[in-house]
Symmetry: C2
Subunit: 153 residues, 2 copies
């Protein structure tokens, strides 16, 4: 299957994961990139609304990206249509993510925009979310990316 | 100095960093969280608009967070006023980030909103950006966070 801009329609849904959240990795990420006490120990987290050790929100984003990229790479044609990411909107950390959680990812195409200035590409917006083993949405965001148009015969 | 919601005004500017981008760390982050070829080798990146090995955009966000948290922790009173982050909007990867780059961070308070339902807290929005050694803005985003109100006497 091809995944040019022309081949994707609003409502297209893609799924990725599962992501297993590892305690040692939560700690290692936090030590390097987000050394707030509630990302480093259960004791400190117990004093906050997290209640117990919670992953950095940026770690959750990074785990999402890792699972998504591996899914793309296992989907023939997907990467060939990509022209890169432009940015993210409406990123929301809706619930804490805890060690031993299992997260499932879903992306839905919510908007397509043709480019007037660059007819060889188009823009797609996806709403991507992660849901934990309790069915709770823990993260959501809207990404904007560029994709190749189908070459004209 | 105190950093309650009441103490911060629109136009307040905070600076953090510098961040030194390390090649081995760029590779390690990409292997785990964003294994796209242009984040893993100069050769693959040379075939893209990056031109040479570029950091994952999520790695850039994570490096930003690390430098910001360390700055907060070195600023007496800052963390005591925090009630956590709600989310991110308008995240834009404006230019590639390369190994050996040096990034400087800046956050500007752009909006304050009192909470009607929770008079003990208020909302602040910051525009945060990273600029490289050439003066180019490489990353920008708008964060929304909650801060404590100053206790009434």
């Amino acid at each position: 299957m091809d995944y040019y801009w022309d081949d994707l329609n609003v409502g297209f849904i893609d799924q990725f994961g599962p992501i297993s959240v590892d305690r040692e990795e939560v700690l290692a990420f936090a030590e390097r990139y987000d050394p707030q006490p509630f990302h480093l120990s259960d004791e400190a987290a117990a004093l906050t609304h997290f209640g117990k050790l919670a992953a950095s929100g940026w770690h959750t984003c990074s785990m999402m990206m890792g699972a998504m990229v591996r899914h793309w790479q296992a989907t023939p044609g997907w990467q060939e249509g990509s022209l890169g990411a432009m940015g993210i909107d409406e990123l929301r950390w809706r619930k804490p993510v805890f060690p031993e959680d299992t997260l499932h990812g879903k992306s839905e195409l919510i908007e397509k925009i043709a480019s007037r200035s660059r007819p060889e590409m188009g823009i797609v917006k996806f709403r991507t979310s992660l849901t934990n083993q309790h069915g709770e949405e823990v993260l959501s965001l809207v990404s904007t990316a560029m994709r190749k148009r189908r070459p004209q015969a």
